[in-house]
């Protein structure tokens, strides 16, 4: 399939749009009519052709514009991309993982030719043609992690594995749901998860960390996370909260369906071969409520989930203020009919 790339923005005039194709393949995160934390990890295996779970790194119609938005955010704030000195090898691991997967899974868009350590990378959508020496930083215009993540949708954290813990020691973070790499860099798994309510008491992080420390090469896993965002902003960072936080007050009963977006993160985790670090890609998908409700099952279910969500979670996810308005809007799509199990449209 050839992808038609959108020309769109994720700031100011917000021309971001999902096509009918993108709506139908949206990773709806609720498999039942209610939500609570769980260690909802499953193997990251190819699933359902055409879905966002089919490829190792999903490429969609927003690719070119998302990469343009990343470059814009980095130009304003270079600290969105950081790598501690010992993480360069993990950066090369990530570069290899992404280049290899994209060239194999999207041969019409990407090519990788290797001749020993001399590599030739072609990225057709972005018009890039680069020859370089693998593991030699001087042959790339920037570090390996920065180089490849300027060409891959979603945020990326590289987690060093030592002392029976994971350490956030490198990352490219420009499409985040209100967390800061600059704040979290160097923190361990418990430290960077400290702000999450309820989950610590439930023991979720202890179990998740144990599982991740055992994650094996060649056996990546995935999970979905979600929140709500006003306007299709990829960059909802603490650094720019003064710009986007205030937009929560611009929502009215008339515009809530077009302004509010369900924001879903497809999080994957890979053991990296040379560094023994973990790669943690966090891919963000946005969908307007009015577009989401064109799938009847999703409209019904989202209404029930948001209506019944515990107050702490709605507060943590940042939409407690507008929840009544959102639930009121979504109620028109909920006729009380039963919903089928699982996340897929009927």
């Amino acid at each position: 399939m050839t992808i038609q790339f959108n020309d769109e923005t994720f700031y100011d005039d917000y021309t971001f749009r999902n096509s009918e194709w993108a709506i139908r393949r949206f990773p709806f995160p609720f498999h039942e009519d209610s939500y609570m934390y769980s260690v909802n990890l499953e193997p990251h295996l190819s699933l359902r052709p055409g879905s966002v779970f089919e490829k190792t790194f999903d490429v969609d119609e927003h690719y070119v514009s998302e990469m343009r938005d990343r470059a814009r955010v980095l130009a304003e704030d270079p600290l969105r991309c950081q790598s501690l000195p010992h993480m360069t090898l993990a950066g090369w691991d990530l570069l290899e993982l992404i280049m290899d997967a994209k060239a194999r899974e999207y041969p019409d868009l990407f090519e990788l030719h290797r001749d020993g350590d001399r590599w030739h990378w072609i990225n057709k959508p972005l018009g890039i043609d680069q020859t370089f020496t693998f593991l030699d930083e001087t042959t790339l215009p920037c570090g390996p992690m920065e180089y490849i993540t300027r060409q891959a949708q979603g945020d990326f954290a590289l987690l060093d594995h030592r002392d029976d813990n994971l350490w956030m020691d490198a990352g490219m973070v420009t499409t985040q749901a209100d967390w800061s790499l600059d704040f979290d860099i160097g923190m361990n798994f418990y430290e960077w998860h400290a702000p999450v309510p309820k989950a610590h008491e439930m023991g979720v992080f202890q179990r998740a960390l144990k599982f991740l420390l055992n994650l094996q090469q060649g056996a990546p896993v995935r999970r979905l996370n979600w929140t709500m965002t006003v306007n299709p902003l990829l960059d909802t960072s603490p650094e720019n909260y003064h710009k986007w936080g205030v937009q929560k007050t611009s929502v009215t009963p008339e515009n809530v369906g077009s302004k509010y977006h369900l924001r879903v993160e497809l999080q994957t985790l890979f053991r990296l071969p040379r560094s023994n670090a973990l790669a943690f890609p966090i891919r963000c998908y946005l969908i307007r409520l009015e577009d989401l409700a064109t799938v009847p099952k999703w409209g019904r279910r989202l209404h029930r989930v948001l209506r019944d969500l515990p107050e702490e979670l709605a507060t943590y996810k940042g939409f407690i203020r507008n929840r009544p308005m959102i639930v009121d809007y979504l109620s028109q799509f909920d006729d009380g009919a039963e919903t089928s199990p699982g996340i897929w449209p009927d």
Partner: protein, 321 residues
């Protein structure tokens, strides 16, 4: 949807007698494809079909991590062990097809280290061979102290000494040479990390001495070999149908259920996610809980089991499936 550790179908392409006790095995992919890369210190689990028994033994990878053509391991013959090393020495020949796990690293280099100080004893040299090749390729700073019984039994000592000269120090037991550990630990620059792999007594000695000299535990690393996740065979009965299913020695209960065509839920297969949690209807015997999902109280109650990793020893087990 099937999951779990990925396996490599390989062919033995070389068996070399390194000395009286050690043989080296070289594996290449049977389909001619590339081996996965790995990090120095990683091991692979070798599956051996020994008659009716499948043996699963971990061995450190000693080849250059960047070499995608092959994996090599060295196996020391252990006359008193469970039989895996004897099988490798006696039965495995070039041309044999075998199955290896993907690499797993429980003895990783700390890449923040300013210097890597390595202490090896006997066959414990193998993970260091891969780590040294990795560090050599990236201009890493290392120093190896390698203790062997005799020069004849000092696997790879001559090669290492020839290539890395004053960065490698070899000590021979029969010449009464010994590592002066206290002096060695005393003279290291700030930011040095210490690694030890060898007999248990050596690991204990190095860890104890390092602690006594005030080394932070985060800077001391040792190889702790993974024991195969097997156990005694047992029988599980399904409450719904009364069917009895045998769980083999090297099989998990989940695998046995799947092999019998039971559609049991799972996600992680590692005892963490809770998806396969199963109610126990009745039991007469003892659980071998290996998961980190159930709380200690739940484990004590004996009314839940995680069939992906946990086992049972006793007369009868009936589960709610």
């Amino acid at each position: 949807m099937s999951a779990g550790t990925r396996k490599l179908d390989v062919t033995v392409t070389e068996v070399v007698e390194v000395n009286d006790l050690v043989k080296r095995f070289r594996f290449e992919r049977s389909d001619g494809g590339e081996m996965p890369t790995f990090s120095g210190g990683a091991h692979t689990v070798v599956e051996m079909k020994d008659g009716d028994i499948t043996r699963l033994n971990p061995y450190s990878l000693m080849s250059d991590p960047r070499d995608r053509k092959c994996f090599t391991i060295s196996v020391r013959r252990d006359e008193t062990g469970r039989g895996g090393s004897l099988f490798m020495h006696r039965n495995v020949k070039p041309g044999d097809r075998m199955t290896l796990s993907f690499p797993v690293n429980l003895f990783s280099l700390d890449l923040r280290a300013k210097k890597h100080l390595m202490i090896a004893g006997g066959i414990g040299i193998t993970p260091f061979l891969a780590q040294i090749r990795q560090l050599d390729a990236t201009n890493g700073h290392f120093e190896l102290h390698y203790s062997v019984r005799t020069a004849a039994l000092g696997s790879y000592a001559e090669e290492l000494k020839a290539q890395y000269t004053d960065r490698v120090h070899v000590y021979h037991d029969d010449r009464k040479e010994a590592i002066d550990l206290a002096a060695l630990l005393d003279g290291q620059p700030l930011g040095t990390h210490l690694y030890v792999c060898g007999p248990k007594g050596m690991i204990d000695w190095v860890c104890r001495t390092a602690e006594a000299h005030g080394w932070p535990s985060e800077a001391v690393h040792y190889e702790e070999f993974l024991a195969p996740q097997s156990g005694k065979p047992f029988t599980v009965t399904l409450a719904s149908s009364g069917r009895k299913i045998e769980v083999g020695e090297h099989q998990s209960m989940l695998e046995a259920l799947e092999a019998a065509g039971v559609d049991a839920p799972y996600l992680c297969r590692g005892g963490a996610c809770g998806q396969c949690e199963t109610d126990v209807v009745s039991h007469d015997g003892n659980f071998v809980h290996r998961d980190h999902w159930l709380t200690d109280d739940q484990k004590a109650c004996g009314n839940k089991i995680m069939p992906c990793v946990s086992r049972f020893e006793g007369r009868s087990l009936v589960i709610d499936r």
